[in-house]
């Protein structure tokens, strides 16, 4: 079977959330000498992009997204050593967390899955994260993007504190900031000085790709 056919099957396995097939097809592709980068881009990321589009348009929901993400991650576990060996780099590094005072993590976790699914390296600083934790993670990992999640009207304003902390640490010009969460709007994100707003996890991944290319809000 040609590589392209197997790659198509791998893409579909991710879309369908069939992790067993995703792992088997990834293994087969490696055995026949397919380039790890090609497997990642044309198999796994291509599949997650389809899922992301479906999620954004309401054609699929959280369970469908999660089984696709699981299939992608299990296949990536098989692929990762080869990616490292061949020097394939992530497209960028994102520090991600839920802001101080807020313990919600499902939005952040979905965002993390989509970001990894499209090729980012994600540094998850967890929930209830204070400003200095975000700042330190950005500095240590030389992240290009900082993503913050806030689910409550009472906690969303802390995102502005984090942006100030980045300025005080002389990091604001080196990192793009994206914010998401139930009460967050594009207007509010712009008002506090963020570079982008994510209405959902899949759109957030798209915005992060645009931020890497220099697009703003």
């Amino acid at each position: 079977m040609e590589n392209s056919t197997i790659l198509q099957d791998l893409k579909q396995a991710v879309v369908d959330g069939d992790y067993r097939d995703a792992v088997d097809l990834t293994t087969e592709l490696l055995e026949i000498g397919a380039a790890p980068r090609q497997i990642l881009d044309e198999g796994l990321i291509a599949g997650m992009n389809i899922v992301g589009d479906k999620f954004k348009t309401g054609a699929c929901f959280v369970p469908e997204m999660l089984i696709a993400a699981r299939a992608m991650q299990r296949a990536l576990d098989v692929l990762r050593p080869s990616l490292v060996d061949t020097g394939v780099e992530p497209i960028g590094t994102v520090v991600l967390g839920t802001v101080r005072g807020d313990l919600h993590d499902i939005g952040k976790n979905l965002a993390s899955m989509f970001l990894e699914g499209v090729g980012f390296r994600v540094i998850d600083v967890g929930v209830d994260a204070p400003a200095d934790k975000f700042v330190e993670a950005v500095r240590e990992n030389q992240a290009q993007i900082l993503g913050m999640s806030a689910l409550l009207t009472t906690t969303m304003s802390y995102a502005a504190e984090v942006i100030k902390a980045l300025e005080q640490a002389d990091l604001r010009q080196k990192v793009k900031v994206i914010i998401g969460g139930a009460p967050v709007t594009a207007e509010w994100a712009a008002r506090i000085g963020a570079d982008a707003f994510a209405v959902d996890a899949a759109t957030g991944a798209d915005r992060c790709k645009e931020l890497m290319q220099g697009s703003a809000l």
């Binding site: 999660l66 089984i67 929930v127 709007t185």
Partner: protein, 382 residues
């Protein structure tokens, strides 16, 4: 009219003197902050005990209505709630549903799930299924007979509602949202079994209450299965797994004259409303407005009088200027007059709503929706 007559007339589009003036309660953190803004410290609010209703000039609080039957409809016995680890500002806590959470001690957020007892069929059989026996003697309160006698008195003023439980939200909490989402594909038969078991428990418990012959005024269910992006499961799965069991519950209720069934679900519920209506659930609560812009008026236009609504007053407007609060009260007034709608804050009032705003809101509500009723609010003058 007494509270019960007014509530039933409102929900059945019948003539009434005015709108019920009520609320859905407050965050735990709200009153401590309002004490610093002038609320007398003798005014207390807790879900199961409060004296705020008279102070604020309302007819009743819906928390009291929701717990009026004092039945245990879900897990029985509960898991023992206990602090497992003190982490200063946070603690790891085991809830009465068996879930271990990380929670803040003050200025709370929905806690973060840390560990779940419900992970597989074995743990379901061991920890949860035995707690879902409808015949557990603890399901009715010890003073059930006295309550029934009181509730059967003619001209009863008390609104008495049955608890209707939850078909998805409980299971989601017991397992975690990621695990239950994967389960829909990994073992749908087991998910279905759990839903059916929960429904059997709810129906068995409700049947005992309904057998008393009391005329209950409604039944309140809960799910919290949506967010700003819509439902946590697809409408297809919702229809496949949940609608048949909602139908079993509402059929039983209807058979005993309980025709108002409200469902508590935050987030954007728009994709699920038609399926709830199909299933016999005919009142949406608290109709969170959110960034998705839910609007009680638009819902009434779309679904007509079949759909009742409670809540729907945007909490963000309560945080804003008095003029905006008054404008929204006026905007919703025709819907209030039509009936089938009881307006209040679209969730528990959060601590970033100033006390003076909330007092002003209630003043407007009493003036406009309440036709100028004087419910004698004490202490604070607008």
């Amino acid at each position: 009219m007494n509270n019960r007559q007014r509530f039933n007339a409102t929900m059945h589009y019948q003539p009434r003197d005015r709108a019920p003036i009520t609320d859905f309660g407050f965050w735990e953190e709200t009153f401590p902050i309002w004490y610093t803004q002038g609320l007398p410290r003798r005014i207390k609010y807790r879900y199961d005990k409060s004296n705020h209703v008279d102070y604020f000039g309302m007819d009743c609080g819906l928390d009291a209505v929701a717990r009026s039957a004092e039945m245990r409809i879900g897990l029985s016995p509960y898991f023992r709630p206990k602090v497992l680890e003190d982490r200063g500002d946070h603690e790891i806590f085991q809830q009465t549903d068996g879930v271990r959470v990380l929670r803040r001690k003050f200025l709370g957020s929905i806690p973060q799930h840390q560990a779940h007892l419900l992970t597989d069929r074995a743990s379901w059989q061991k920890h949860y299924k035995p707690r879902l026996d409808p015949d557990d003697p603890r399901r009715l309160p010890k003073d059930w007979a006295e309550r029934v006698q009181r509730w059967k008195e003619p001209d009863r003023a008390e609104i008495v509602a049955l608890p209707g439980g939850s078909l998805y939200g409980w299971i989601r909490n017991w397992m975690g949202v990621e695990n239950v989402s994967l389960l829909l594909y990994d073992d749908p038969a087991w998910f279905e079994e759990m839903v059916e078991t929960v429904a059997d428990c709810i129906i068995g418990a409700l049947a005992q209450a309904l057998a008393s012959g009391v005329q209950f005024d409604g039944c309140g269910m809960w799910e919290d299965m949506a967010y700003r992006g819509g439902p946590l499961i697809s409408p297809k799965h919702f229809k496949q797994f949940l609608v048949p069991h909602y139908r079993r519950i509402t059929d039983l209720l209807h058979k005993h004259g309980v025709d108002i069934v409200w469902l508590d679900c935050d987030g954007d519920i728009s994709l699920l409303v038609p399926h709830w209506l199909e299933a016999g659930v005919n009142c949406m609560f608290p109709l969170e407005v959110g960034t998705w812009g839910a609007d009680p008026i638009k819902y009434r236009q779309q679904y007509g009088k079949d759909l009742r609504i409670m809540g729907g007053f945007d909490k963000h407007i309560l945080q804003g200027a008095p003029a905006q609060i008054e404008e929204e009260v006026q905007r919703l007034a025709p819907l209030v007059e039509e009936g089938g709608y009881i307006g209040f804050c679209d969730h528990r009032v959060p601590p970033d709503v100033p006390l003076e705003n909330y007092v002003f809101f209630l003043e407007m509500v009493r003036t406009v929706w309440g036709h100028g009723v004087n419910l004698r609010p004490m202490g604070v003058v607008c």
